[in-house]
Structures are given as structure tokens and as C-alpha cells.
């Protein structure tokens, strides 16, 4: 494949990230324009690339010598999700970030993070994956500390320590697979280790991959950094971190390596199911008791990532034990669809929390109240997002949760389906609490002259709310065949991925 589009996904954000501090040090408007143009063009490139499939060889070197980037259904879907959320987040930042100084640094770090995520998604090479993982992680550590206050620095340090341990484990796992195979290209590694998964060195590598990416995905028991780091960042960054970063760096990278390189066996799939179910339950019960709006949302991120991991693990388990292929496809479809849905509604919720914080100056639910007339638009969008995350029809969250429950029933895991429904109910209760305390009740005296968020911020809220309402349509068979099924196929093909990668030489 010789398209010019894939390199643009890395070159544009990297180039503009370094251009902004050079030309827009004192011109905030120019930084805004450049940042938004960059993310808008990235979204356009991601959409244009959607039908493209194949292997892009960097510098024309053939794999396994050169580094290859792989475009398949899954990476295309992830690219669209990541670049969509980053565009909405930059649009929101124009007015929201005015309270901070040094907007140009903000946009630089933001675009570096986007470049890192795009790279992780594209990469078909283990070490290249690690490099992009670190680019995205390091800029996200800095973005969490962006406000520079006590809590932000503390959260950032905690995130940095756990994140670096995770990255180092990933590097160690990459080194171990290189030691066994002598290759870094995912296709070659996968072909060479086929049938040897039980060797101790490879088991060790698999464990390190799971732990390393698990830290990035913040699944229980590797979650402690997330509830501190995500609320401490500025709202658009929280939306990026919860909406796409934990997915691109965590779940996407993990499923790529497990499904397509190492290959899922029943044990690995069992670990995924256990971790997913545990994250769902622990996350939601920790969330119920929270009174800080953003912290509550962060705990729900852990819980919702549990759904995604559970769906993927279930699919992997059915495939590995030779069960019905239909049920496996359904489970993976549910997991991936929930991943896309969660990006949309969770970033919407974080942006809503940002617009409330901007208006009222507080994140504590107990200090809010009666905002329904003052902020009607925020109320409407926040309600839509809350209903989506709680899985109320016809919003998008309902459909993906339904798929996961159905798949669990078909696979004979009725108790998992029961847990899934129960967690969904607790989520609903928790969000009814949010809506009740933030928007209903009497308006407290200090909030008398609260105003609705500025127009630019509202546009981004409405954009995401429309997506939340309409994304259920992706399940219509004709649309599903184009958008979701290729992504599912990329994972359910499993190790055949390696062969197709070699065939693309």
C-alpha cells in the first residue's frame, strides 16, 4: 500500500505540536486555530482512510526488516474514535482553557499525545508500539499536572510511577519475545511462536504484556492511579484520558498482542474474563459513594472498561475452547462496540462536568443544585450521556451492553450476564444521584447568576450527545457490515492476522 495518508496521522500532530510553541507563544488565538485545524484534519484523514486496508512499509523497507504499520478494520475504527474525541476536546478547550496560562504548551502536549495514540493503533511492530506508547504516556503525565496545584502534582506523580512500571514491563515483554524469536515484527513473531505458547519464557512475556497494558488500561487490580489522575487533569484532558487513552494504550494494545500475536488460550481468556468482571463490580461500587463529580466519573471508567475487557475475554474464551463462532463474534462485537460507545459518552460526561465546573466553580455534587433552568443545554446533554452509560434504550450504551449480555447467555455464563445487568442497575442509580443533585432541587445562594456554557463549548457537547443518541444505528446490518464487522473480524481471525501481514509484504 502506497497511500500518503497513514504517515499524515503521525506527521501532522507531531509537526504542529512543535510548531505551536515556536510561532504562537503569545498569540493564544493562533494556538487555538492551529490546534483545532490539526485535530480537524486528523479526523478527516481518519475518515478518508476508513476503507483502506493493508500494510504500510515505512521507508519502503519490507517486513520483517523494516517497520510496518497495519491498517485493518480494528485499527481504522480506533483511529476514527480517537481523532473524533480529540477534535471535540480541542473545540471545547478553546474557551475552557482560558483560565490557564500557557495555552500553547497545552496544545503541544495534547497533539503529542494524539500522535502517540495514532502510532500505537497503527503500529505492526512491537518495539515501535512501545515507543509510541511512551510518547502518549509521557505527554499525558505532563497534562495531568498541567494546573500545577497540589492535587494535580500529586496525582501526576502517582500516575507517572505506576505508568512507568507498566511501560517497563511492556519493554521487558518485548525483549523476551525478541529473545525467543529474533524478530520484532508482529507477524513474524506470531508465526514463529505458533504452537509454542506453553514455553516458560513466552508465558512470562504474556504475563508481562497483560500486567503492563493492564496498568495502562487501569483495570482492577491495576487501577489506583486512575481515580486520582483523571479528575485532576483539565476537563478536556479528562475526556481524552478516560475517553480514548486508556483504550488505545490499554485495551487496544492488549487485545492486539493477545489475540493476534500470542494467541488466546482458555487460561489467558479466563484471566481477561476475571479481570473484566472484577473491574466492573469494584469500579461501580467505589463510584456510588463519591461526591466529587469527576472522581465519580473516573470510577465509572474503570467499571465500563470492565465491560469491554469482559466482552473481549468472553469472545476469546469461546474461540479458544472451540465453541459456537456466532457467540464469540457477538461477544467481541459487544466489547468493541462498547469501547466506541464509552469513548463518546464518557468524554461527553467529562466535558459536561467541565462546563458545570466552569460555571459554578465547584466539582462537589453537594454544593450544586437547581441548575436545570440555568444550564438547560448542559442538563440535556448530561442526561443523555447518563442514560447512555446506564444502558437505557435507545441510547448507544444499551445496545452494546445488550450484546455482551446476550453473548454471555449464549456461551452458558448466565452468572456473568446477571453480574453485567446488576452493575448496569447500580450505574443507573449512581447517575440518577448525579442528575438529582446537580440539576434538580433548589439553587444555592452562591450560584444565583450562573450562566450556560459559552457557545463553542456547547457545540462540542451537542455534537457528542447527537452521537450518543444515534450510534445505535451502527448495528443496522448494512452499516454494521462496513463499520463494526471488519473490526470484529480482525480480532476473531486471531493468528491468521500474522499470515495476512506476511502476505502484505
Amino acid at each position: 500500500m502506497n497511500s500518503i495518508l497513514p504517515p499524515l496521522l503521525i506527521a501532522v500532530p507531531l509537526g504542529i505540536a512543535f510548531l505551536i510553541p515556536l510561532v504562537a507563544r503569545r498569540l493564544d488565538r493562533l494556538a487555538d486555530t492551529l490546534g483545532n485545524l490539526a485535530t480537524l484534519s486528523l479526523l478527516a484523514v481518519a475518515l478518508l482512510m476508513f476503507p483502506l486496508r493493508g500494510v504500510y512499509r515505512i521507508g519502503g523497507w519490507n517486513p520483517p526488516v523494516g517497520i510496518s504499520w497495519v491498517l485493518d478494520g480494528l485499527s481504522n475504527l480506533m483511529l476514527v474514535v480517537v481523532n473524533l474525541v480529540s477534535f471535540v476536546a480541542t473545540l471545547f478547550s478553546i474557551r475552557y482553557m482560558e483560565r490557564y496560562t500557557a495555552k500553547h504548551r497545552y496544545y503541544s502536549l495534547f497533539l503529542l499525545m494524539v500522535a502517540g495514540m495514532n502510532g500505537v493503533i497503527l503500529s505492526g511492530d512491537l518495539f515501535n508500539l512501545f515507543v509510541f506508547l511512551e510518547i502518549a504516556s509521557v505527554s499525558s503525565y505532563a497534562l495531568v499536572a498541567f494546573g500545577g496545584r497540589h492535587e494535580e502534582l500529586e496525582a501526576s506523580f502517582k500516575y507517572l510511577v505506576l505508568g512507568s512500571v507498566g511501560s517497563t514491563l511492556v519493554l521487558l515483554a518485548v525483549a523476551l519475545s525478541y529473545a525467543v524469536t529474533g524478530y520484532l515484527n508482529m507477524g513474524s513473531v506470531s508465526t514463529l511462536i505458533a504452537g509454542r505458547q506453553a514455553e516458560p519464557v513466552l508465558l512470562l512475556a504474556a504475563v508481562f504484556f497483560i500486567v503492563g497494558f493492564g496498568v495502562k488500561a487501569a483495570v482492577v487490580p491495576f487501577h489506583p492511579w486512575l481515580p486520582d489522575a483523571h479528575p485532576s487533569a483539565p476537563a478536556p484532558i479528562s475526556a481524552m484520558l478516560s475517553g480514548v487513552l486508556i483504550k488505545a494504550l490499554g485495551v487496544y494494545a492488549l487485545s492486539r498482542v493477545l489475540f493476534n500475536v500470542i494467541g488466546v488460550d482458555p487460561v489467558i481468556a479466563g484471566v481477561l474474563i476475571a479481570v473484566g468482571a472484577l473491574s466492573m463490580v469494584v469500579g461501580v461500587f467505589l463510584a456510588v459513594g463519591q461526591w466529587d463529580f469527576k472522581r465519580l466519573l473516573a470510577y465509572h471508567s474503570i467499571s465500563q472498561m470492565g465491560y469491554v475487557v469482559l466482552g473481549l475475554g468472553l469472545g476469546g474464551y469461546i474461540l479458544a475452547t472451540g465453541g459456537a463462532r456466532g457467540a464469540a463474534t457477538l461477544a467481541i462485537l459487544g466489547g468493541l462496540f462498547h469501547l466506541a460507545n464509552h469513548s463518546v459518552f464518557k468524554s461527553l460526561l467529562f466535558l459536561c462536568s467541565g462546563s458545570i465546573e466552569q460555571a459554578t466553580g465547584t466539582r462537589q455534587l453537594k454544593e450544586m443544585g437547581g441548575l436545570r433552568e440555568r444550564m438547560p443545554l448542559t442538563r440535556a446533554t448530561c442526561t443523555i450521556a447518563s442514560l447512555s452509560i446506564a444502558g437505557v434504550p435507545p441510547f448507544n450504551g444499551f445496545w452494546s451492553k445488550l450484546l455482551i449480555v446476550l453473548a454471555a447467555f449464549q456461551a452458558g455464563f448466565a452468572w456473568l450476564a446477571a453480574i453485567t445487568i446488576l452493575v448496569s442497575l447500580v450505574t443507573l442509580i449512581s447517575f440518577l444521584k448525579v442528575l438529582r443533585y446537580a440539576f434538580l432541587g433548589a439553587l444555592p445562594e452562591p450560584l444565583r447568576d450562573v450562566r450556560e456554557a459559552p457557545a463553542l463549548m456547547s457545540i462540542s457537547l451537542v455534537l457528542l450527545a447527537v452521537l450518543c443518541t444515534g450510534m445505535g444505528l451502527l448495528l443496522v446490518p448494512a452499516v454494521r457490515g462496513v463499520v463494526l464487522d471488519p473490526a470484529v473480524a480482525a480480532l476473531s481471525q486471531g493468528l491468521e492476522y500474522a499470515r495476512s501481514l506476511m502476505a502484505g509484504m
Partner: protein, 115 residues
């Protein structure tokens, strides 16, 4: 044997990063972990009495293949060192800012966030 020692070094770093109370010591622990992995990568490519992996016209190809060290891990380690430098400098900068705000390097006293 040498790999076991390398892994022991890695575990030392992990232990240090996860249990120490002092922020600077945690950063040192992270650095030790990282260098253990770098050392491991270099060991993978090492050959006793190996030659530098630079091919020129006069060298005999078979002899070269039999004796040269593996150049790829060296390239990887160079990249990993640069990344490690970035992470470490950010971590140290955060330690300094934390010290300015809290007046201490002790993580048990740096805890406003809980829950």
C-alpha cells in the same frame, strides 16, 4: 546466570519503586528497573569475542555472521535510553514541584487525594 542477576536487578528496582517513601528514591527505583531491561536487551545481542556489526567489502560474510554481535538490540537500547531520560527528567521535575508545594519528599505526607 547472567540473566538471573539481570532479573534480580530488575526486581530490586521494582521493589525500590513500589515500597520507598521518598519520592527521589522512587525515581531512582524506576531508573534501576529501566536499566535492568536495557542491560537485558544488550545481553541478548552479546557474543564473547564478537566484532562490531559493521560490514565492509573486505570482510568475509560467513566469518562476519559467525562473529558479529546483534546490532538490533543496541539500536533499541539507544531509543529506550532516550525515552528513559525523558521520563526521569519529568519525574524529577515533578519531585521538585511537589517539594515546593508540600515542603517534603515523603509520599506519606503528600496525600490530599483519597478515596
Amino acid at each position: 546466570m547472567v540473566y538471573t542477576l539481570c532479573f534480580a536487578l530488575f526486581l530490586t528496582g521494582l521493589y525500590c519503586a513500589l515500597t520507598k517513601k521518598n519520592t527521589v528514591k522512587i525515581v531512582i527505583g524506576l531508573a534501576i528497573m529501566e536499566y535492568a531491561v536495557n542491560l537485558f536487551l544488550i545481553l541478548l545481542g552479546y557474543r564473547r569475542n564478537g566484532v562490531a556489526p559493521i560490514l565492509d567489502r573486505s570482510t568475509d560474510l560467513a566469518d562476519f555472521l559467525a562473529r558479529s554481535v546483534d546490532p538490533l538490540p543496541q539500536a533499541l537500547v539507544l531509543t529506550a535510553i532516550v525515552i528513559g531520560l525523558g521520563v526521569t527528567s519529568l519525574a524529577v521535575a515533578l519531585c521538585i514541584r511537589l517539594y515546593e508545594k508540600y515542603g517534603t519528599f515523603d509520599v506519606t505526607q503528600i496525600r490530599r487525594l483519597k478515596g
